[in-house]
């Protein structure tokens, strides 16, 4: 019998773990979102800061409430995933959005899209995008009231993609690509600056938290799809570079489509996922009723993820053999 103070604990191997944890991952993603968040403060002023703060705090609050309702012994609201959801939600909405709508969006993201399915790891759809789509469909006017950058009084103007949809390719033909790249355009808080997003994505890539399979296949497909139509008729369709740098494509491809819980696990699955997102984005942007299609395309492809995961040829063959024997 062990002596006092030397009571042993038995566990199964391995008895050492790497330092990786949910908290470390989530807070690293939050750090990777700092460039885009900072760019939004720069372009859209103080209100952007309040929007971000409210979004993050509401997400944490709702997750805390659900933790308590579920009588969880260990709170998950501080593990960083609510913080990331809050930051991403803020980057997906215009800086002019009324505060009560932000709180509703956070509620949908956390309670409906994540916790009702069981919490982190169980949700089939990207929570931030569910929240964004809920807001778009419920409050279409408020969600398209994009402020101009550096505007003092938050007068809203059309975003480049909005202009493209309503006025046609001619209206956006002479937009400077550098402006689009750095982000001095109207749009949601996070989608404007491609540079800031790429900086953040680089952080995640270096840390090994994302692979480039989904972003490159997503962006590549959209580029190719819009490029084909641009080549066919440059007067009716905008250039593919324009499409790359506007709207939520960069943010969606690097931060939303790569969300671990809602993306496929296999390389083949990820390529199909990226191509599907790219095609749907292109179709919605060019031929659909909405000017922007990234959110919808990712959500639709999220629905295919369980199927893509099951498409493991080796396992399917073995199951067939097992059934026959």
């Amino acid at each position: 019998m062990p002596a006092q103070g030397e009571r042993l604990t038995v566990s199964y191997a391995p008895h050492i773990r790497s330092g990786e944890s949910i908290e470390r991952v989530m807070y690293t993603v939050a750090i990777a979102l700092i460039p885009a968040t900072a760019a939004s403060f720069y372009y859209f002023g103080f209100r952007a800061f309040w929007v971000t703060a409210l979004s993050v705090l509401s997400c944490i609050f709702f997750e805390f409430v659900i933790n308590k309702i579920r009588k969880k012994k260990h709170l998950t609201c501080f593990d960083g995933s609510a913080v990331v959801t809050g930051l991403l939600l803020a980057l997906n909405i215009p800086a002019t959005l009324p505060y009560w709508m932000i709180i509703m969006g956070a509620f949908v993201c956390i309670v409906i899209a994540k916790e009702l399915f069981g919490g982190l790891g169980y949700n089939p759809f990207n929570p931030v995008l569910v929240g964004r789509v809920f807001l778009i469909i419920s409050f279409p006017v408020a969600m398209t009231a994009w402020p101009e950058p550096f505007a003092v009084d938050m007068i809203s103007a059309a975003s480049p993609l909005g202009l493209l949809k309503t006025e046609g390719a001619a209206a956006v033909a002479d937009m400077h690509f550098w402006k689009l790249f750095f982000g001095e355009i109207t749009g949601s808080m996070g989608e404007t600056s491609a540079l800031a997003i790429l900086l953040g994505a680089a952080v995640l890539y270096i840390r090994g938290y994302i692979t480039l399979t989904i972003p490159l296949s997503f962006i590549g497909t959209t580029f190719a799809f819009t490029g084909i139509f641009y080549l066919l008729d440059a007067t009716q369709y905008a250039s593919p570079v324009f499409h790359l740098l506007t709207g939520g494509l960069m943010l969606g491809a690097f931060f939303m489509a790569t969300d671990w819980v809602t993306s496929p696990m296999s390389f083949r699955g990820q390529i199909i996922f990226g191509i599907g997102c790219g095609l749907l984005t292109g179709i919605i942007r060019l031929f659909g009723g909405y000017p922007e299609g990234v959110a919808f395309s990712i959500l639709i492809m999220n629905a295919f993820v369980p199927l893509l995961d099951r498409w493991d040829f080796v396992a399917l063959k073995k199951k067939k053999e097992a059934r026959q024997s």
Partner: protein, 437 residues
Amino acid sequence: MKTFKRGGVHPPENKITADVQIEKLPTPGVVTVLLSQHLGKPARPIVEKGDIVTKGQLIAEADGYISANIHATTSGTVKSVGERVPAPNGIYAEAIVIEADGREEWAEGLNCDVDPGSLSRDEKLKKIQDAGIVGMGGAGFPSHVKLNPPKDKTVDTFILNGAECEPFLTPDYRLMLEKPSEVLKGLEIAASLFQKDITIYIGIEANKPDAISIMKNYSRGRSFTVVPLKTKYPQGCEKQLINTITGRTMLEGQLPFDVGCLVHNVATIYAIYEAIAKNKPLVERVLTVSGMQIRNRKNLSVTIGTKIEDVINYCGGIVGDINQLIVGGPMMGRAQHTFDVPVTKTTSGILFIENEKLESLRERACVRCGKCIVACPQGREPWLMANLAQNQHFDELPCYGLNDCMECGSCTYVCPSKRDIVHWIKYGKAMAAHQKR
């Protein structure tokens, strides 16, 4: 530098005892020799309580072909036969307890020099079988079976496994440094059981440069090729070692001889040398005592049957709070529930660890990050097997590679959700087998 193509992780090496010379732990007053220290049926005792035995005397016979002999590891009187004692695998097992007389008297005919060249292949195999030698890297597979593959399998490559990829463990390293000629003579003996043109490799991880150079020096003029291997866990696992050195891949269910290879651990080869050239059955082995919670960390040559309590006393006692006693390495070793466990033929290390974060380690849901898939050396999907086992879908598990899993622990090591993936897979294996019945 060569490495295996898929997966692997890099746990901190902690080879604290790398420069500690092997010391002999004096045989304690009582040795507890388990009847099952190998894969296969336990040995059947052939002595009775009260019998006087000499060191190396056969005290239990192998039960069948896949089994191994058990010998008295010291001279003395048999105190009990078949007593149930705690075993390193966590379940009680039967043992023969011998009260040592302190004289360490070898049995007649043992511990004398023999010229290996004078023995035929069958004679050598019989000696290895009689000596009760099993795989001392941890698996415990009887060596005479391993060295005698079915007639239709040709073995053209023999690999000496000097990788020692587990953190903390250094017994094979010290053996290679201190007894290189014996190890290589043992390798020659083992290789001589096969065709003359067999290719012989010695695989050593790059974190042991002096072992690589000493083996290279002693191999000069002989047909051994020393292969430095990239330091990556689990380089020492058979499938990975064969893949690294020969490029061949073993499919599910295959054994090394199916791809023409044979792998043996350094300690096992040393034991084969002692059995054939010195007429010594397997009665002692080198192991590493390490971890932060033991006063003196050492590499010890221990008489099999020594209790861990005796090892603790010899190494100066436990320091501070300890909550895990691990037999083996930290990645695949077994945590013990008591200090009252004896050393067996397959004990390569004893670790004393204060795993402070253990109690707060809580499993969360799988976040599908895919790190386990990247880490898995077999290229399977550990997250899926763990999830299926957790949801009680045991019949689907074999289709997803359940039998491919060697429980190396790489997946669990990297999981950010702290899931006990290997434990779920082991649970899945047990339930799948239970349901089949």
